[in-house]
Every structure is written in structure tokens, then in C-alpha cells.
């Protein structure tokens, strides 16, 4: 039987998605359901003097209006940060309470203060407009860089500082800098982004008074984790009385990891009113209240020798958490950021210091890449600048500082098990025709255009898991993953996974893995996820962990099935279990022609008896049935890496940046389905290039979101991109049996510095902040013209 792993198997999920038969949360309608509209703060920072619902209650169709007071009276808990970070001075981080409905203070535009529940959506909206809130507006803090100097947002949190964290050794770094021939320094801003999943958030909550069970359908990347948080911290219901279902979910990018206010409020309120409640975000609510990403202000320095050897690195960053610290809000700018700060280089001394600040803006949390794009942007901008200042070719400088042997023990945290960074660089250069750039630059120049080339070599730590590791760093849960593989008596297989697919094609790739492991045709394998009542507990999908963690759990559960199958076959065929081999779905007694198919074994496991004989095919100690579970906790993260090269052409008259060429050469270890991986790379690149050239979430000084719709927030479109030139090198991960690494975030991590390095190269080294919009680039072109004129 040909192996399915490695082949372009068509997506099983496409039949329903391409025929409009997907079933998203907003498609779910329950009998007698009501509709919720949230009344939200129009102010970035205010105290609530008075909230009057009398008029609204009289509005037609209103079922109930609930406020922060009721939710506090019912002792429903607030939203939480999932990762405890300790400051350099040893103190614990400072987190404010974040009630699902604000009672006394609001801290960002969109912070909900009440929910209006009515018989129809229109009636809910009309009533919501009649809720009267008397706010005392306070001065908002909106700037990341100045947040520590602003008014105190949360009582008791001085300087709006959540923590002041250090990773690395300041003294060693100082010593290294003392020895340097040259110090390259850079000030950069990692612009704030809005994830913009195609499907806005939504939830439908139902309560069954007879079973006292709440069912919440919601747009989540991790339904079990949501249930755990809502139960353990939200006090909504005990876990066995709370079912969370995340059906088809249209994109997450990290924005659907969090339990949100609406999930808790609708679940709690459904029980209160004993009716189902439906809430679907409008796009403008998504802009305001989905978690945002990035938003760092960084000063970084690299100490180098004159021949280009890196000696030391420092990174001083202020990271904006927004108004509250959410699930991955505190780990994103620390342990997902700091350990990757030194990039793919051997740098003997390094530290990263992060001050995480609160502001009156939407909470900032994990967005595709989470911490690693910020880290990669910093080091790769710095290395590019070093190449310019030292006059060493940008690819040569990088190669000079790559590790030569693996495992590669980095200065800060990670030990990278596998990789070949030089091979990736060489292949990328070839794919991009790096040598031919100078000729292309001249061609552009002849047309009056400026052409630039940018390079990025990146690695990332993904497959976020090793529980002992993450818990030692303050994570509130273990990040293993589970799988359960169940055979039906007639031989088909259902795989239950704790991972969640919201665009990642698990139904296909996980089935490919199980098909190979079990020798069962792929059409006889179903992948089930996203329902706490169906699957074993799971940690969900983020941090490119589904395959490298969840996929391995499936492999391990399949291996247990095969082990049992060997024992059963041995008993049935009167052989020694050690003599039974398994291949392509058949258990064969070695050196004989005796065999059983896995279907026959499954059948025997479910019907363990023989007519007219008191005899069982099951060995002593084995129970009937064929079902195995695995909780897989890997020994390490996985470390994909690669080199990307971009070329841009700039029109100096309009400042328009045209991305002419984009080459991505990645090492994702073993690839399960190249078509799916291409899709992941394309999506990541679109978002990464989006950050570099188009996307920007901007608040004004009063805390109003200026980019609150697609009229002003530039989502990249297909015509913004060239045909992507994608290739791979492959070193297998040594830390998991499939040899796989993550691929979902690579594009978003590598693309911003790659594109910006190209833009800044074209501009003769002039710094431009992301996104490199036409006006910024136009101004830089004018400066360039002036300085060229002076030089001439």
C-alpha cells in the first residue's frame, strides 16, 4: 500500500466548504432562541456613574437586560491571563480583574457593560440603544512607548506595568559589548495588527433545565480549554455540566484562543433566563473587541567584530498588553519572544528585557506567530543593518554566524534538535536568483524606479507543549495533546483529537497519518474534533502545535492499537505475539502464511466468542473492544527554520511599493501533505506581507480606534502579491516519531523583516516603520533624492 504521508491528498473538508455546507456557529439556530446585543463603552477610559435600563426594559421584545452588577452578584468570574510571569526583581506580575461585564470602570472602547436579550435581533438592537450609561470620562492611555508615564489605569498597578521581565545575563552582555569593534543599534516598532478572521466571533448558548447542563457553541480554537477556564475561573458551571462545541470555525490566527466576555455572559444568561441565546459579532465589534496582535516598541543592539562575528545582543522592549492581560497575553511578549530573540545565530551573550504595559486599548494577545514575528523582525532588521554598516554581503554575514552543528544549544533557552541553515540559505539564493539582482536593480533604475532586495533567516519554536518546560515557566496548564482512536466492529475508524481545525485541514492530514499507521483506507477514517462531549480532553490548536503534538498523539494511539492487534492475532492464530508483524493493515505471523487483517482483528475484539465453543480470541488480560488513547507530551518544541528573500520596486513619485518577487525556502521536517503546507505558507506570507506593507491598527489619543473598518484597515488582497516562489529543505525533527515540525506561522514570522529589509535596501538604508505605506516611502524617496543631490 502506498504511503499517504507526503502526498497531495485532496482535502476531505472541501466538499462541505466549497458547496456552502459548512456548519458555523452562526448557522446554528435553536428552538425558542433569543438574541443578544452587547452595550459597549464608547469611551477608552471612564468610570460608570450610573447605568439605567428602565427605558430599555420597556422596549418591545425585551426578555432580559443584565449588567455588571448581576454578574458580580452571581459571582461569575472574570477573564484571566493563562501564564504567570515574574519580573526581574522576583515580584509576580500584576493583573487587574476583568469582569465579563464591566461594573465600575471601562478600559477600552468596546468593553461591554450590559447585555440586552430580546426575541429578535432588531428588537435587541433597538433596546440596546435605550440603555442609558452615565460615564465619567477619564484621560486615556493609548501610547505603548509612553504608557508608563500615563495616568494609572488599574488601581494598584503603578506605571501601568504588568511586569518587567528579563531573560539572559546583563553582565555577560556588557562584557561582550566591551570587546566589540562595533555596535549596531536600532529602534523599531512592531505595528499593532487586528487578526480579522473571515468568520466573526459568535456564540449560541443553551440551557437544559432538566439535566442542568449548559451547551455553548462558540468560535473557539480550543473548546476544552474554554470549558476549563469557564468552569474553573468563570464559575459558569462545573465541567461535567458544561459542554463546549466549536463546530466549523472560519479562521482563528490566535484570536479565538481566548474565552471572551460574550461566551461567559451568554452561557450564564442562558441558564438565568432558561432559554437559548444567540450572539454574532458584527465586523465592527470584531475590530474593537477581538484580541489584537504585536504592538512592541523596541531598542536593540548587536555587538560585532569588524569581520562580522556576532558577540552580544540586547533587546529592550515595551510590549502593549492592552486593557487587560488575557490567556496568552503575558507569555506572547516573554517566553514566545525572548528565547527566539537571537534568531538563527550563535551569539554568546544575550538578554531580552520586556516591560509589559497596560493601555486603554483592546487586549493584545497571541496572533499568528505570537512573539516570534516580533523577535525575528528585531534580529533580522539588526543583522541587515549590520551588513550595510560592515559592508559584508547580507547572506555571507548570516552564514558566518549560523550554528555549524546540531543539536544547537542557544544562549538563552532552546536547544534546537535539527536543521541545516546553510543549505536553506543556499537553496533560497538559487531560487531567488540572488546573483542576478544587480542586473534587475539596474533595469529598474533605468525606468526611474528603486529596487531593493531583502533577506531573512529565521527559526521558530513551535509545537508549543513540553508540559514540564512550559509549567516551569509559569504556564497554568500542561500543553500535551490527546487522541483517541476507535475502531468500529466493521473496521472503520474514528479518530478523536484534542486539536482543533479552523482552516488547518486536520480532517485530511490526520486521516493520512492514521491511514498509514493502521493500513485502513483514508475514506474509512473520520477525524472528530471540537466537542467536549465527544473527544478526550485536549489543549487545542495554536502555536503550530497540531501536527507536532496532536498528530503524534494519533500516531501513538494507533501504535497501541497495533500492539493489541498483535496480541489478539497471536491468540487467534496460536502464535507468539513477538512473531506477529504488522504491515499495510495485515497482521502476519512471521515465517508462515497465517495472517489476519486489521478489520478481522477489530471484529474479533468486539465479538469475542465463537459459536458452539467456549473460546475467546482475546488474550488473557485484554478487554473486548478496540480503542486506544494517547496523551502525548513531547520532549521539546519543534524548530522549523528557513530563509526568505524578497524583492521590491518602488516608484519614487508615488511611494508605491510593488512586491516583485517573494521566495520562501522552509524546513518543516517531514511534510504530510504538500498542498496543505503550501496553503499554510501562502496564508502566513499574506499576513506577514500585510504587516510589512498594509495592515495597521491605529488608535487616536482619546483611545478611539481609527482603523475600525475595511475602509481604513488595509487587508491585503490577492492583487497585492506576486506569485510566491516556495521551496523546502528537509531535516527531520529528532524529537518526535514522524520527524515533523510546525508550518502554520512561518510565513507570518519571516515575511515582515524580509519585505522591510528589501524596502529599506531600496531606500538606501533609510528606516521606515511598518507598514511601509505610500506616503512614508514617498517621504523617504524625497530625502534620498536630497541626500544624493548633496553627495553629487
Amino acid at each position: 500500500m502506498a504511503s499517504l504521508v507526503g502526498s497531495r491528498v485532496e482535502r476531505k473538508e472541501d466538499k462541505r466548504f466549497l458547496t456552502g455546507k459548512g456548519r458555523y456557529t452562526a448557522d446554528i439556530n435553536l428552538a425558542n432562541q433569543t438574541y443578544a446585543i452587547f452595550v459597549r463603552s464608547p469611551h477608552a477610559r471612564a468610570s460608570i456613574k450610573k447605568l439605567n435600563i428602565d427605558k430599555a426594559l420597556k422596549s418591545s421584545g425585551v426578555v432580559s437586560i443584565l449588567t455588571g452588577k448581576e454578574i458580580a452578584d452571581d459571582k461569575i468570574g472574570g477573564l484571566i491571563a493563562g501564564w504567570a510571569i515574574r519580573s526581574e526583581d522576583g515580584t509576580e506580575m500584576k493583573c487587574p480583574g476583568n469582569p465579563p461585564l464591566a461594573k465600575d470602570n471601562v478600559n477600552f472602547v468596546g468593553d461591554p457593560v450590559a447585555v440586552v436579550i430580546a426575541e429578535s435581533l432588531v428588537e435587541a438592537k433597538e433596546a440596546a440603544e435605550k440603555v442609558e450609561v452615565d460615564y465619567k470620562v477619564l484621560k486615556a492611555v493609548t501610547s505603548t512607548a509612553d504608557a508608563m508615564n500615563g495616568d494609572t489605569i488599574h488601581e494598584g498597578i503603578d506605571k501601568n506595568l504588568c511586569f518587567d521581565w528579563l531573560l539572559g545575563d546583563r553582565q555577560k552582555v556588557k562584557d561582550a559589548f566591551d570587546k566589540a569593534d562595533k555596535v549596531i543599534s536600532i529602534d523599531i516598532i512592531n505595528n499593532r495588527l487586528i487578526p480579522n478572521a473571515m468568520e466573526p466571533r459568535a456564540c449560541v448558548a443553551d440551557y437544559n433545565a432538566a439535566s442542568e447542563e449548559i451547551t455553548l457553541y462558540t468560535t473557539s480554537q480550543n473548546p476544552h480549554l474554554s470549558r476549563l477556564i469557564m468552569s474553573a475561573f468563570g464559575n459558569v458551571a462545573p465541567e461535567h455540566k458544561l459542554r463546549v462545541v466549536a463546530p466549523d470555525v472560519g479562521g482563528g490566527f490566535g484570536s479565538k484562543i481566548n474565552v471572551y466576555n460574550e461566551d461567559i455572559v451568554c452561557s450564564w444568561a442562558a441558564k438565568k433566563i432558561n432559554r437559548a441565546i444567540k450572539w454574532v459579532a458584527e465586523r465592527s465589534e470584531s475590530f474593537l473587541t477581538d484580541i489584537h496582535g504585536r504592538d512592541h516598541v523596541t531598542h536593540a543592539e548587536l555587538a560585532v567584530t569588524k569581520d562580522g562575528k556576532f558577540l552580544g545582543f540586547k533587546n529592550e522592549t515595551i510590549a502593549n498588553l492592552g486593557a487587560y492581560a488575557r490567556v496568552f497575553g503575558t507569555v506572547t511578549p516573554t517566553y514566545l519572544f525572548g528565547p527566539c530573540a537571537t534568531g538563527v545565530y550563535e551569539i554568546p551573550a544575550a538578554y531580552t528585557n520586556v516591560k509589559a504595559v497596560y493601555t486603554n486599548t483592546a487586549p493584545v494577545d497571541a496572533y499568528r506567530g505570537a512573539g516570534r514575528p516580533e523577535a525575528t523582525y528585531t534580529i533580522e532588521r539588526l543583522v541587515e543593518k549590520a551588513s550595510m554598516e560592515l559592508g559584508i554581503d547580507k547572506t555571507e554575514l548570516r552564514i558566518k554566524n549560523f550554528p555549524t552543528a546540531f543539536p544547537f544549544k542557544q544562549t538563552l533557552v532552546h536547544t534546537v534538535d535539527s536543521g541545516d541553515y546553510v543549505a536553506g540559505m543556499e537553496k533560497a539564493k538559487q531560487m531567488a536568483d540572488y546573483k542576478g539582482f544587480e542586473a534587475r536593480r539596474k533595469e529598474s533604475e533605468a525606468k526611474g524606479k528603486l529596487r531593493g532586495i531583502g533577506v531573512t533567516s529565521y527559526f521558530e519554536a513551535c509545537g508549543i507543549a513540553p508540559s514540564a518546560a512550559v509549567m516551569s515557566l509559569g504556564c497554568g496548564v500542561g500543553l500535551w495533546e490527546s487522541a483517541e482512536v476507535r475502531f468500529n466492529p466493521t473496521g472503520q475508524v474514528t479518530v478523536y483529537t484534542g486539536s482543533h481545525s479552523h482552516g488547518q485541514s486536520h480532517q485530511t492530514t490526520f486521516a493520512q497519518i492514521a491511514a498509514d499507521e493502521l493500513g485502513v483506507p483514508i475514506e474509512n477514517i473520520d477525524i472528530v474534533h471540537g466537542d467536549t462531549d465527544k473527544g478526550t480532553f485536549g489543549m487545542g490548536t495554536y502555536g503550530s502545535r497540531s501536527l507536532a503534538v496532536g498528530g503524534i498523539a494519533i500516531v501513538n494511539a494507533c501504535k497501541k492499537i497495533v500492539e493489541k492487534g498483535k496480541r489478539v492475532t497471536a491468540k487467534m492464530l496460536e502464535a507468539n505475539p513477538e512473531d506477529v508483524e504488522f504491515k499495510d493493515g495485515e497482521f502476519i505471523v512471521s515465517k508462515s502464511n497465517k495472517k489476519k487483517t486489521i478489520g478481522e482483528v477489530a471484529f474479533a475484539c468486539y465479538l469475542p466468542g465463537v459459536r458452539d465453543e467456549m473460546k475467546s480470541p482475546l488474550p488473557e488480560g485484554d478487554e473486548p473492544g478496540l480503542k486506544e488513547t494517547s496523551f502525548y507530551d513531547p520532549s521539546n518544541f519543534s524548530f522549523p527554520a528557513g530563509t526568505h528573500i524578497a524583492e521590491v520596486e518602488i516608484d519614487p513619485e508615488t511611494g508605491h511599493v510593488k512586491l516583485e518577487k517573494y521566495t520562501a525556502c522552509d524546513d518543516f521536517g517531514r511534510i504530510i501533505n504538500p498542498m496543505v503546507v503550501e496553503g499554510q505558507v501562502h496564508g502566513g506570507l499574506a499576513q506577514g506581507i500585510g504587516q510589512a506593507l498594509y495592515e495597521n491598527a491605529e488608535y487616536d489619543e482619546t483611545g478611539q480606534l481609527m482603523t475600525g473598518s475595511y475602509m481604513d484597515y488595509t487587508m491585503p488582497r490577492a492583487d497585492n502579491f506576486p506569485e510566491f516562489n516556495i521551496g523546502y529543505t528537509c531535516t527531520h525533527a529528532t524529537t518526535n516519531p514522524l520527524g515533523v515540525k510546525g508550518c502554520g506561522e512561518a510565513g507570518a514570522i519571516a515575511a515582515p523583516p524580509t519585505v522591510m529589509n528589501a524596502v529599506i535596501d531600496a531606500l538606501g538604508g533609510q528606516e521606515v516603520t511598518m507598514p511601509a505605506t505610500a506616503e512614508k516611502v514617498w517621504k523617504a524617496c524625497k530625502n534620498l533624492k536630497k541626500s544624493n543631490a548633496k553627495a553629487a
Binding site: 513619485e653 508615488t654 491605529e698 481609527m706 475602509m711 488595509t714 487587508m715 505605506t773 505610500a774
Partner: protein
């Protein structure tokens, strides 16, 4: 969105009769419907005019192209007659919004709305258009009064727009990267005797740039406006483009348009 009454008018007369101070005409609804959804506009009555046959269609004579007010952008961009008579007008229509907008939005709606960054008003100015309403004919340079303001009276309905066929013309737009509306759009049209340089997006209302028109009427070459330093004091300034950048873009787009003629 608040409740409203929907009417489908069978002719201009009926449409006009149904109009009141709390009504709006509905053609493609590309601005009206989103404004109502966002609560920025409320109407008691919406009077649908897209079923009025007389308001749709394209007629080309020797001197002019006349387009019915309810003609969709896609119809203008696909029309072989328009492509032949005024190719720049067809390419302008092709560059409006996205396919969904072009499949519903109408020329009359665009002009009646007079969004400061809409494309069509610049075509009207550049191509010496005459706006035919159910009551009168209005010259384009007297039609666009200010931001979202036109010479139309309440209940007055645009029936058709008559464009003068120029010797040469081109429309060049620097789009807002997010909305793809014009940050600056410049429509250059060379007629017998004079040149119009209609600018949209740059100020609160579309206008004919006299300085560039004069220079180009003397010498129809992009070199005659190269480096021109326009007064930016009345130009729009927002997060996507400052007034100075817009002033520069007006000249750049005008040069491109002249070169493309």
C-alpha cells in the same frame, strides 16, 4: 437598520411623486444601505428606481456618450461602445470598488452621492458632462456643490449623464489601499481648444485644476506640469495621506494621465 417602506417606481414621475423629506432614491444602494445599517442615515421610504427601464442603457452619438442613471458600473466597463468612444471612461468604471460593487452600483448613484473620493464625478467634470434630470439639464461644473452636496433638489431624479467625447483622455488613480477609493484621482481630457484636469479625492469636492489645465492647453505634454507645486492648503488630510502628499500625487497622477493619453 430601522424599518422603512420600500417602493418600486415604474417611471420617473412616480418616483418623484413618492419622494419626500424623509425618503431616498435607491439604485445600487452601495452607499445608502451601508449608511442605514450603520445608523448614519434613516429614511421612512426607499424608492427603488432600478426597475425604471428608461434609466438604464448606453447611447453613443458622434459627439457624446449618454449613460442612463441606473446603469451599473459593470455595464459601462463592459460596453464596447464606451470602450471605443471614451476608453478612459470604461477603464474608470472597471476600477471602481470591487466586482460586487460594480455589479450593483450605478453611475447616477455615484454622482448624486458626490463622495469627495468617488471616481465618476471627475469624469463628469473632465468630459464636460450634462446631467439630465427629470426637471432640467445641469452642466457638470454647476452640479457638484461640495462634500456630498449637489445641485439636485429634493425629489429631483437624475435620468442620464451625457459625456462629451474628447480627443484624448485618461483617468489615473492613486487608490486608498484599504477602501480602494481614490486618495487622488485625476481625469485629464483634451477637447478641441481646451484641456480639463478634473481632480477627485484631493479636496472636499471634485474640481477642475485651472493651473494645470492652462499649462496643458498651451502644451499638452507632461513636462509642462512636471514639478508644479500646487497649493495644498485646501487639500484633505487623513491617516492615509497628508495634504502635501495629496498635492504631490495630483501632479504625479496628472502627468501619468497625460502620458497615457
Amino acid at each position: 437598520m430601522k424599518d422603512f417602506n420600500y417602493h418600486s417606481a415604474k417611471d420617473s414621475k412616480e418616483a418623484s411623486k413618492l419622494a419626500s423629506s424623509s425618503s431616498a432614491f435607491l439604485a445600487g444602494g452601495m452607499t445608502t444601505i451601508p449608511s442605514m445599517k450603520l445608523g448614519l442615515a434613516t429614511y421612512k421610504d426607499l424608492i427603488d428606481i432600478k426597475n425604471i427601464k428608461k434609466l438604464s442603457g448606453i447611447k453613443v452619438s458622434g459627439k457624446s456618450v449618454t449613460i442612463g442613471a441606473a446603469t451599473k458600473h459593470v455595464e459601462v466597463s463592459n460596453s464596447k461602445d464606451v470602450k471605443k468612444a471614451i476608453p478612459s471612461l470604461s477603464s474608470l468604471a472597471e476600477g471602481i470598488g470591487d466586482p460586487q460593487v460594480r455589479n450593483r452600483g450605478t453611475i447616477g448613484g455615484s454622482i448624486a452621492n458626490n463622495d469627495p473620493s468617488a471616481d465618476y464625478p471627475s469624469a463628469c467634470i473632465a468630459l464636460n458632462a450634462i446631467i439630465h434630470t427629470n426637471e432640467r439639464k445641469i452642466e457638470a461644473n454647476k452640479f457638484f456643490k461640495g462634500m456630498f452636496e449637489t445641485a439636485l433638489k429634493k425629489g429631483e431624479l437624475i435620468e442620464a449623464i451625457e459625456f462629451q467625447i474628447p480627443e484624448k483622455s485618461s483617468y489615473q488613480k492613486h487608490p486608498n489601499p484599504a477602501s480602494r477609493y481614490a486618495i487622488v484621482g485625476v481625469y485629464v481630457a483634451k477637447h478641441k481648444g481646451d484641456v480639463n484636469v478634473a481632480v477627485t479625492g484631493a479636496k472636499s469636492c471634485v474640481y477642475n485644476d485651472k493651473e494645470m489645465s492652462k499649462a496643458l492647453s498651451g502644451n499638452f505634454s507632461s513636462s509642462s506640469i512636471d514639478g508644479m507645486d500646487l497649493d495644498s492648503s485646501e487639500m484633505n488630510s487623513d491617516m492615509h495621506a497628508s495634504a502635501d502628499f495629496r498635492a504631490s500625487l495630483v501632479v504625479t497622477q496628472a502627468k501619468k494621465a497625460v502620458d497615457a493619453c
